[in-house]
Structures are given as structure tokens and as C-alpha cells.
Amino acid sequence: MLTGQKIEFNYKDNNYKGIFISSDDEKTTVKLDNGYNITVRNENIKIKNVYGNGKKREDIKIKSIEKHGKNNVCILTTGGTIGSSIDYETGAVKPVKDISYLYNYVNNIDDYHLSHKNIDNILSENVNPEKWINFARKAKEKMDNNNSVIIFHGTDTMQYSASALSFMFEEQTNPIIFTGSQRSSDRPSSDAFTNIEGSIHFSSTDIGEVGVAMHSGISDNNISLHRGVRVRKMHTSERSAFKTVDDSEIAVYNNKNIIFNSEYKSTGKNNILNDKLNDNVSLIYFYPGIKDEDFYNTVYNKDAVIIMGTGLGHVSDSIIKTIKKLSKDVHFFMTSQCIYGGVNLNVYSTGRELLKANVIPLYDMLAETAMVKAMYLLANYNDSFVNLMKTNLRGEINNRILW
């Protein structure tokens, strides 16, 4: 049977009509005429009649793009919750072919000329450095053609991708705004629509940086623009999961207004993209009882290792010994698993030992950002690698933590 075909069937001695949805070895799912799906064991159901060819999804009428304004914005979809819809029959997530239906739901949309390009279709946990290069190149193409860029991206690794593009673009002519949704866009309560609304507005500013636009709080009123290198997903499920860590957000969008909360780099005249990455970098989380050999095996052949140490940036004495053995060949950098606050290796003897072992403290750089930054610098600035790691390039090091 085909999904969508009408069927007549018998279940536990009663006859029913419905639409066939799916079946596997054990069970069959049918949509009844009242709209409910029921799932029953195959041994309990007898199909008596099948007709029709399966019904295709009818597309909803969309606003005409031609009506829209002069601000060119290109939405690049990469997959993830926001740019995808669920196929209710198979449960699979598919990219939305034509996202223009979204236009119906976004305020103030008529000021923009939107275009759309599907550049990938993956859940963001599968995004990797190779994908970042692709995203960056596609973004450059669009900016070269006078577009601001919004990237629909799964929220799981959005912060890593935003960091990657932040570093890879040395200069950019337009804003690049990552956005996503924590509630899928197939539900009325989705945060996608307001996140998109905010993103579109941010995309018309002169911010020459890579940002992440997501809900500020769990209400639908404010959308925050976070600096790509300073944002972290801090909650598994809330709309407001994304937080700028140890710094101010770039801006907040509220009811067609943008309020800037911190300084930002303005758009430049050219798009300068360094699209090389060296992914021979490890990010490793220290914990009591971690095995020296596990640590050694993970790091010995790497070009750079980002350690998420405890507190101000510490690891056990035995790990320090291992680091000392390797630090001629491997660059070690220290961040903290505390997430908030800076590392400081001057305060305790462990820190001073780490400094002696050539471990470089990265102050308040996020561990995830440090990992991406190392990939970027190793590939493009190998000669001044360590020095540039310690230097603030895109706002990833904030020398003033205010709270």
C-alpha cells in the first residue's frame, strides 16, 4: 500500500475506513476519518479494500516575492529544525523546498527582498569543518552579489559553525546571521517565526560580523543577536537556550526596533575569506579519575589541544606530566569547564606548573570557540599560531568580565 491511499479494514471484528500511513513487521498505522491515527498489531488488522493513489501534500498559497522591498537578504538553509519539516508519514526530517511560505508569518516582511538557497540538509550534530567551509563559500557568493545572509542551522552546533565563519571571514560586506529554532516550525508555538523576523531585521544593519539570532527569553517578544564567537547553547530545550557568555549581546530586536548593547565591527568593502581549516585539533574535558593513557592517546598526534580544565584552568599533576612530555610537539591551550569566568594560571601552583609546561591560558575564550579558532589559525597562520591564539581577533577574548 502507498501512504495516503484510502483503505477499508477490519480491526477486532469492527470495520473501519481510513488512510494508510505506514507499516512495519509488527504494526500498521492508519489515519481514521476523524483525524486520529491508530497503530495496531498486524495480526489484528485485516485490510479489505484499497483505493486511490495516495494523496500529495497540497501547497499553501504564498505571498509573491516580487512585492518585497529593496533590502536583499538571502536565506541559506542547511537543515536543522528551522529549515526543515517533518514528514509525518515516515517521521523523517526533510528540508523545506520552498521556505517562502514563511513570509506569511513574518512582520514587516515587505521591506525586504528575500531569496533562498538550500545549501545542505543535515542535522547540525553532523556538521563538521568541511561543512563550515561550504557554508562560508556559499555565504561569500551571496554577499558578493550584494546580499545579507541568514543561515538556517540546527541549534545543536550552531555556536561552532558561527565561530568558524566568524574566524574565516576577515572582512565581510554584509551581516551573516545564523538562526534556528528550538521548537520546530510545524507547530503554532514555534520560535522560528520570531527568530526569523529578528534575523531579517538584524540582516539590514551594518554589522560586519557573524551573529546568532535567537530568543532572548522564553517569551516571544525579544530576539537577541549574539556574537558568533561568544555564544553558547546553555539549555537543551528552552527557546532562550543561547546565551552570550561573559560579555554583552550585540543587539536586541523588539517590535521592529533594534537596540544595540555593545560595539561591533562595521561591514567592510570586501569579502575576505580564508577558507582553510586544519581539523587535527582536540577538545578534551578533564575530570577526576581521567586515565593518563586516554589523555595521551587522544592528544599525542594532534597539532593543538584545547583542555576544559577545572576552576581557573587546572588539571591533575599526572596529566601535567603527560603534557610536559608532549608539549614540544603539541600546542596545549587551557579553558575552563566552569563556562563562565576567565582562566588564570598565576593564582595556584597547578596553574604555574601548567605555564611551565607551555600550556597557554585563553582567559575567557569559550572552549568550543578556541577549538574552532585553532583549526582556523593552524591552516592559515601557522607561523604566528600561538601568538594569535592569545590575541583577540573577533571578540572571542573579552578582557572585561562585568558580572
Partner: protein
């Protein structure tokens, strides 16, 4: 006139314990923490937007939710639902069995789109548990189309034109919905069916049993389309509501017959505020002062139909307007009135070129709000002329009905992918099988035979849904007659007299005290009255002078007195003892003490 009515019921029962998809309790109160949300209409799996959903979209309201101490991130739509609550699911299976339904092998929860804000997610989660059962009634079996298990909606606190406020305390409470086929033949039958179903549910130990725990929807048709009447609040209103709807539809049929011949059209609305610059109508003056404008439109050929017979056409239009947040529609059948002068009326009539058969309607509202009204009124007029009255209506507190929204379709249902299929396996079925409640007939037999209640008493217990309470109380205080009287008479009378709920739990506590202190019926009634009036802690009751039990010393004194008078034996000691005192006492203790003391004399 015999009307061929088709009536179906959908009855919703709240279950107590935990919420359906999280670990919050069903009991709790709202807090002051609020969130604000918008709802966006989305497509179903078949790519359509439901009519009811489109209607809400047009209203474009902001929704405010007050958090409650019994809500977590799940109710805030900030976390995926957890696994379905096993106890609630089991109760739904029990009820499906009691109603002779086929039980599904797996529960697939669906999302039913509702964007009036009553669900933070924009949908209600609901799953079929049983199908195709029946319930016996005096007028034959009424078929049960489905038993579903769903989450209750948020509790509406207030709403106005661009904003609705809800509390999250009720959101997510498990709700068993039992819907019948339209096998019910009249008002009385509907009432009987509702009672029979309600009886079954209330007999399960998971029934929540608070105010508002039962909500009844009536599906009604008499040939002019199906009307779904939401929220009939009390059993007895089922009858009133159907009566009202019959009257309404019959009246509209007469109007339809007239208008089909004459035809009728509705003009656009004109801003006629300037005509009322010097009006003496306080209502209009006040509206203009608050920034509203006066709008008017003409409906041709409905003069004297707006106020016609038992039901008024004007009400149909006013309902549509009120639903848009525009209250107080006036029409020319009511003029002169509202303090509007003849001059003003004439200038309105002149402006709109009103003919003798035409009616003028006037509304007072803000300019922003008038947009969609004329279109909606035309839709309504056409529905009436064509007598396609299918729609969702709301039951009112007066037993009437009012327009709510278009009927939803199956487009608003799609699978809840966040919740895995739940298999109803044999162990669950066995568990459930042991919990099927007695039917009403079985219960009546029990009351008559086991507890020796009269037929009148038995019927009263059953009809007032007091059977399970009765059984529970008997286990504490084994005096069936007394307990029946307390439930049927004492408690309702006290509650009415003092306008204060006593509550089953308090009744149980008092009966426990009564048992331990040898109280009789009059003591209990006294205690109940004191408790109701003074609202003291129940444990304080035994310390009240009126209810204080005799101390051992006092009992001994009285017995000694009785023994000395030589008039007593083991059989008459208690009545004799009672005559000697107004205080309460433990009869067992009196007998024991008497046995000891009689030997010492």
C-alpha cells in the same frame, strides 16, 4: 411538531495525580510569573490550514501565560513532553473496557491544533485508547465512538480583543474524552446518557472530582448542519441547551424562508462619527471620548426580522461582532433607543439610503477593529439564508448558546512525534481488567441489598454520583442510613445554608473522629455545623464543649449513679446512659466499664 434530532455527547473528565506528560501534580495554583507568546498557524501533514485555525490567525492575539506551582518547562512548551503518565493511561483503558470498546494495540498521540492560546504548544495532545463501544440506556444502547486520552487546556483568566490570559495550572491535566455516536434521540435521553457515563468515570479512583472536572460538549443536528456546543457546565443544562438550539434553528429556518425569496445584502461599514458630534446618547458620547468611532452598515430586507419571534436575527450578527471584540451592536429594530435622537437616526438612514425594509446596524469600536466585520457578517447572513448552520458554539451559563468559531476539520490533527508509541500490552490489560467499576445497576443492587437503603435513597445516591463516596464512608462509619442521610441531606443543606464547601476529606476526618468517640448522628451533624460555621481545625472539634467526650472519670460517675439506682443491665446501659448526659461518649468504653463496675458494687 416532531423534529428529527441527532444528538451526540463528548464528555471530558479530568483525572487526578500527575499531569499527562510531565511529573507535575494536577493540583496547584497560579503564580505571578508570566510569559508572552504568539501563535502561528501551520499546515497539517496534508498541507492544509484548518478553518478554525485560520479564524484565530485573523484575530492575531497575544497570549499571556501565568505559570503555576504545578507546571514545569513542559507546560511552558520549553521542553518536550515526557512519557505518558501510566496511571492516567490505565484509567483510560479501564473506562474503554467498561464501555465495551475495542482497545488499540498501541497509543499514537496526535497533535490537535488549537491556536486560541489555550495550549502553549498550539496544539492539544490526544490519543485514541478505545473505539466502538456502547453504553446501555433505557432507550437502547448508545454507541461510544471513541475513548481518547488528552491533556487539558490552560485555564482562561481574561481576554480582550488583542490579548488573552491563561493560567498554566490546568494545562496538561489528563482528560478522558468519551464521545458517543449521534444515537441520542432527545433531551431527556441525552441527560440519561451523560449520567450513565459520568457514573462510570466517577467510580474510578483516579477521577479528579473538583469543580469543573467534568465538561460536556453536545453535538446536535436537526437537518441544518452539525452544531458542536462546547462547555455545557452542568448536567441539567444539557436539556436547556438543546431546547435553546432547537428554538434558534427553527426561528432561523423561518427567517431563511423569507430571505430566500426577498434576498438580503450587507453594505460596508461607514464611519459616521461626525453625525454624533452633539449627541445626547451617553453611550455614544462615552465611546467617542475613549477614542472609538461610530460605524454603521445596512442590511437590506431584514427590517423587523432583527427582532423576530422567539429568537432574534440580531443576536446572530451581534455574536459575530462580539467574537471580534466588538460588543454592543445596535440595530434599527431597536430604535429609537439608546438616547439616539430622531435627527441623528434620520441622518444615518439618509446617508445609507435606507429603504423601509432595510435594517441599519451601528457599532462603536476603534478604527483598527472594524476591518473584517462586514465580511464576517455577510458569511453569517449566507449561512442563515442557506441554512447551513454547522459551526462550533459555546454553551452559556444561562443554558443558551453563542457563536464560537467554525467547525474544525481533520486537518488540524497530525502525529505528536515527540512521544513514542506506547504499547498496550497484556499486563496493562490485566491490571485494567481488575479495575473496571460496577455499573449503575450493580451499584443500585448493592445499595438496596447490602446496605439496606430504600429505593429512593439508592437512586438519590446514584443520581448524585455519591456511590463511591458512600462506599468509602461506610468503611469508616458503618451506619448506612446515617451516612446516606449525611450525604444526601445534612451536607448539601449545610453547604447551602453557609455557602461553604465541606469537602469529602473533611467529612472523612469527622467520621473518623465520630467512630473513635462514639458519636451518633446528631453529634456528627453538630460537628459538621460547627466546622462549617467556624472553619476551625477539625482536630479542635473534640475539644469543643458541645462535642467533648466524657472523661473516664465522668463515665464512671454516671455508671455508678445508674448502678446504684439498680435500673440497668448490659442491654439498656447505653440508652440509659444517654439520658444522663448531653456530652458525647464512646459506647464501647461505657459497656466495658459497666461490666467492671457492676461487680464492684
Amino acid at each position: 411538531m416532531v423534529i428529527d434530532m441527532k444528538i451526540g455527547l463528548e464528555i471530558h473528565f479530568q483525572l487526578k495525580g500527575n499531569k499527562l506528560f510531565c511529573s507535575c501534580s494536577t493540583e496547584g495554583e497560579k503564580t505571578d510569573f508570566i510569559i508572552e507568546r504568539k501563535m502561528t498557524p501551520v499546515m497539517s501533514e496534508l498541507g492544509k490550514i484548518d478553518n478554525a485555525v485560520k479564524y484565530e490567525q485573523m484575530r492575531d492575539r497575544t497570549f499571556v501565560y501565568y505559570s503555576s506551582d504545578n507546571s514545569c518547562l513542559v507546560e511552558k512548551d520549553e521542553e518536550p513532553p515526557h512519557d505518558v503518565d501510566y496511571e492516567a493511561l490505565k484509567t483510560a483503558v479501564v473506562l474503554s473496557m467498561a464501555l465495551h470498546c475495542k482497545i488499540v494495540d498501541y497509543v499514537s498521540f496526535m497533535r490537535k491544533i488549537v491556536i486560541d492560546g489555550s495550549n502553549t504548544s498550539g496544539f492539544q495532545r490526544t490519543g485514541v485508547i478505545g473505539m466502538d463501544g456502547y453504553i446501555k440506556t433505557s432507550k437502547g444502547n448508545v454507541r461510544i465512538s471513541a475513548v481518547t486520552l488528552e491533556e487539558d487546556a490552560a485555564r482562561k483568566i481574561r481576554e480582550d480583543i488583542d490579548r488573552a490570559e491563561y493560567s498554566l495550572d490546568r494545562l496538561g491535566i489528563p482528560l478522558v474524552e468519551i464521545s458517543t455516536e449521534p444515537d441520542i434521540i432527545d433531551q431527556e435521553h441525552a441527560l440519561e446518557t451523560a449520567k450513565a457515563i459520568g457514573y462510570l468515570v466517577m467510580s474510578t479512583y483516579k477521577f479528579r472530582g473538583e469543580v469543573d472536572s467534568i465538561r460536556q460538549d453536545v453535538n446536535f443536528s436537526m437537518g441544518y448542519g452539525r452544531v458542536e456546543i462546547k462547555g455545557v457546565s452542568r448536567l441539567s443544562f444539557i436539556r436547556d441547551t438543546i431546547d435553546y438550539e432547537v428554538t434558534r434553528q427553527m426561528s432561523l429556518k423561518e427567517i431563511s424562508d423569507i430571505l430566500k425569496i426577498k434576498g438580503s445584502e450587507i453594505s460596508d461599514f461607514n464611519d459616521i462619527t461626525y453625525l454624533f458630534k452633539n449627541t445626547e446618547s451617553s453611550m455614544i458620547k462615552k465611546a467617542i471620548k475613549t477614542g472609538k468611532s461610530v460605524f454603521s452598515a445596512m442590511i437590506t430586507n431584514v427590517n423587523h426580522l432583527m427582532k423576530y419571534g422567539n429568537y432574534h436575527l440580531g443576536k446572530e450578527f451581534a455574536d459575530v461582532a462580539r467574537n471580534m471584540g466588538i460588543g454592543g451592536m445596535m440595530h434599527s429594530d431597536e430604535f429609537p433607543g439608546y438616547g439616539i435622537s430622531d435627527d441623528e437616526l434620520n441622518s444615518v438612514y439618509k446617508l445609507l439610503s435606507r429603504g423601509d425594509n432595510d435594517s441599519i446596524i451601528i457599532v462603536l469600536t476603534y478604527k483598527n477593529n472594524i476591518g473584517a466585520l462586514a465580511g464576517l457578517l455577510r458569511l453569517r447572513l449566507n449561512k442563515i439564508i442557506n441554512m447551513d448552520l454547522a459551526e462550533t458554539r459555546a454553551a452559556t451559563e444561562k443554558g443558551e448558546t453563542k457563536y464560537l468559531r467554525p467547525l474544525p476539520g481533520r486537518e488540524r490533527m497530525y502525529p505528536e512525534t515527540d512521544i513514542p508509541l506506547f504499547e498496550i500490552n497484556k499486563s496493562l490489560l490485566d491490571e485494567a481488567n481488575n479495575l473496571i467499576p460496577e455499573t449503575m445497576e450493580e451499584a443500585k443492587l448493592n445499595l438496596n441489598n447490602k446496605y439496606k437503603l430504600s429505593t429512593v435513597e439508592s437512586d438519590a445516591v446514584i443520581n448524585n454520583s455519591l456511590y463511591s463516596t458512600f462506599v468509602k464512608l461506610i468503611k469508616i462509619y458503618n451506619e448506612p442510613k446515617t451516612v446516606a442521610r449525611l450525604l444526601l441531606q445534612t451536607v448539601p443543606e449545610l453547604e447551602k445554608k453557609y455557602n461553604s464547601k465541606i469537602g469529602n476529606e473533611n467529612l472523612i476526618k469527622i467520621l473518623n473522629i465520630a467512630k473513635n468517640n462514639g458519636w451518633d448522628r446528631s453529634n456528627i451533624e453538630k460537628a459538621l455545623e460547627i466546622f462549617t460555621v467556624k472553619k476551625i481545625n477539625i482536630n479542635e472539634l473534640i475539644k469543643m464543649d458541645e462535642l467533648k467526650s466524657l472523661s473516664d472519670e465522668e463515665i464512671r460517675e454516671i455508671i455508678n449513679k445508674l448502678i446504684i439506682n439498680n435500673s440497668i443491665n448490659e442491654k439498656n446501659i447505653i440508652p440509659s446512659f444517654k439520658k444522663e448526659t448531653n456530652s458525647t461518649f464512646n459506647a464501647k468504653k461505657v459497656i466495658e466499664m459497666y461490666k467492671k463496675l457492676k461487680n464492684t458494687h
